[in-house]
């Protein structure tokens, strides 16, 4: 919104400037009132005393709880995306197949797993591992969380792949058929490499969704991730609110960095012009896709 003024209003004249200043002051007053209310509420309950916040200046809080927790969160997120990518690619390509018996089942599976809440997928994976495998109970939450995330994000990525491949100009595959390449060869050597370039920003921003969704595991499966530290820390120091604020900020910073990375990547892609199609926008995929897709 910086730079050129919006089309919705003129560059302010003297009257509008006064009016805008008045609005600013009123809005500031409202914000200040809310802030003051929150501040007094917090200080009444003793949440702003130094005792509540000093644990976070102590190195051991970070080395023992927060950093290992963040490590587990990031490990689950990275594992999930690394496994979900090939799964998504396979299903995305399967949905484009010209054989009905491949296309339809792949489509049904993708739509089904996008319609089920991630939390339920995690619960079910956990149940599945309890009953049908002998995975150790220490590591089981990680397995369940990653499986749930893979099932969900695999189907979202399948849609991203499909949109990426569909966004390539038709001439690409026509030319490769004209050169005598087979369907598989066309897909693997011509279409997929270009589609991946187009989709990279969408894939990176899907990482934000995955990082946020790992937190679901901490409440329902006692997965020892970053969020789960709030129990230990607030039990030790009785500082629930400061702990939640600090943990929240860590998530925001991590996800903000990932979002910036996606934007940078997108710029780089468009500058290099490696592909003949515009980048896939995850929200655009959502708009064109069937119900069940979401950017959240």
């Amino acid at each position: 919104m910086s730079g050129a003024p919006s089309v919705l209003y003129d560059a302010p004249g003297p009257k509008a400037k006064v009016r805008n200043t008045i609005y600013s002051v009123v809005f500031l007053a409202v914000l200040a009132a809310v802030a003051w209310y929150v501040f007094t509420a917090l200080s009444d309950k003793g949440q702003l005393t130094a005792k509540m916040w000093t644990p976070f200046t102590d190195g051991s809080t970070w080395t023992q709880y927060l950093i290992p927790g963040l490590g587990t969160t990031l490990m689950a997120a990275v594992l999930a995306i690394v496994i979900a990518l090939p799964v998504g690619a396979v299903f995305g390509i399967a949905r484009l197949s010209e054989h009905v018996w491949i296309r339809v089942p792949a489509g049904v599976l993708v739509e089904l797993f996008r319609a089920i809440p991630v939390l339920m997928l995690m619960l079910f994976s956990n149940f599945f591992y309890v009953w049908y495998t002998d995975i150790d109970s220490d590591i089981r939450p990680l397995f369940a969380v990653v499986t749930g995330l893979v099932l969900y994000n695999g189907s979202v990525l399948a849609e991203v792949f499909r949109a990426g491949i569909a966004s390539l100009p038709k001439g690409q595959s026509e030319a490769s058929y004209a050169l005598g390449l087979r369907k598989t060869q066309t897909m693997l050597t011509i279409l997929l490499p270009q589609a991946v370039t187009v989709m990279l920003p969408a894939i990176v921003s899907q990482l934000v969704v995955i990082v946020k969704d790992t937190a679901i595991g901490s409440t329902i499966l006692s997965f020892a991730d970053l969020l789960s530290n709030y129990r230990i820390l607030s039990a030790n120091y009785g500082n629930t609110i400061p702990t939640l604020i600090v943990i929240g900020l860590i998530y925001v910073v991590v996800n903000w960095v990932v979002t910036r990375l996606a934007a940078l990547l997108e710029q780089r892609m468009s500058r290099r012009g490696r592909s003949s199609a515009p980048p896939v926008n995850p929200s655009a995929v959502t708009v064109t896709a069937l119900p069940g897709a979401d950017p959240l």
Binding site: A115, V252, A293
Partner: protein, 225 residues
């Protein structure tokens, strides 16, 4: 399938529907207000809305729900109800999770509405300014009605995502579908797969019609340009 009748399946899904309904209304209002602030001529409002959207979008919903319960209710004593009977805790948790869903989903609504505002041709705003309409009039009479019509499809995605996200209210013990599913899976042992299928179908029934109806509506009301 016999054991299904031992559980209040419909009751659990009814709570899910209620959570979705109230959160959707709140998120729509809050999202439009946020979008309005983001395009407003007042610098401070733009800055506030941008900062709010960036921070809340990047926070896990689970954390917001937990914070609403542990922080707002248990620590600060904001209970959101004057009820003092035994069901007060249930009502409180329900309302707290609705609050968290509104705060979170509002950011996605705001982003959708903002993209809708961008689809309205510049000439329309210029014409309404030429007629002497101010910012609020231009926004509410000319731009927003058209913008909202063009964002029905993305809003449908947000609504479907919200429906699924309401399961996270289980983190603070709101008795919706996910809580019942957890209980049932634990009680029914090997029949857990069947339980999962039942709940999966439940969510498909909840989300599929919404997507289809709103998808149809989005085509019907879209402004043809």
């Amino acid at each position: 399938m016999d054991f299904l009748s031992n559980y209040d399946l419909l009751g659990a899904f009814w709570v899910t529907v209620q959570l979705t309904f109230w959160s959707a209304i709140g998120a729509l209002v809050w999202g439009i207000v946020l979008a309005g602030m983001r395009v407003s001529p007042v610098w401070l409002m733009r800055a506030f809305a941008t900062a709010y959207v960036t921070v809340v979008r990047n926070t896990p919903l689970t954390l917001l729900v937990v914070a609403a319960s542990l922080g707002l209710y248990q620590t600060l004593g904001v209970s959101l109800t004057t009820d003092t009977t035994t069901s007060a805790i249930d009502i409180t948790n329900f309302r707290l999770s609705v609050l968290a869903f509104i705060l979170y989903t509002g950011t996605f609504v705001s982003e959708a509405v903002r993209s809708g505002i961008n689809t309205v041709p510049v000439g329309q705003a210029e014409a309404s300014r030429a007629l002497g309409l101010g910012f609020m009039q231009t926004l509410t009479i000319v731009v927003l009605p058209q913008a909202l019509r063009s964002v029905v499809a993305p809003l449908a995605s947000v609504l479907i995502a919200l429906t699924k996200n309401t399961t996270i209210a289980s983190a603070i013990g709101v008795a919706e579908a996910a809580v019942l599913m957890k209980t049932m899976i634990e009680n029914e042992g090997q029949a857990g797969s069947l339980v999962f299928v039942v709940f999966a179908i439940g969510f498909v029934i909840l989300t599929l019609p919404v997507g289809l109806v709103l998808g149809w509506l989005s085509q019907k009301v879209a402004v043809k340009r």
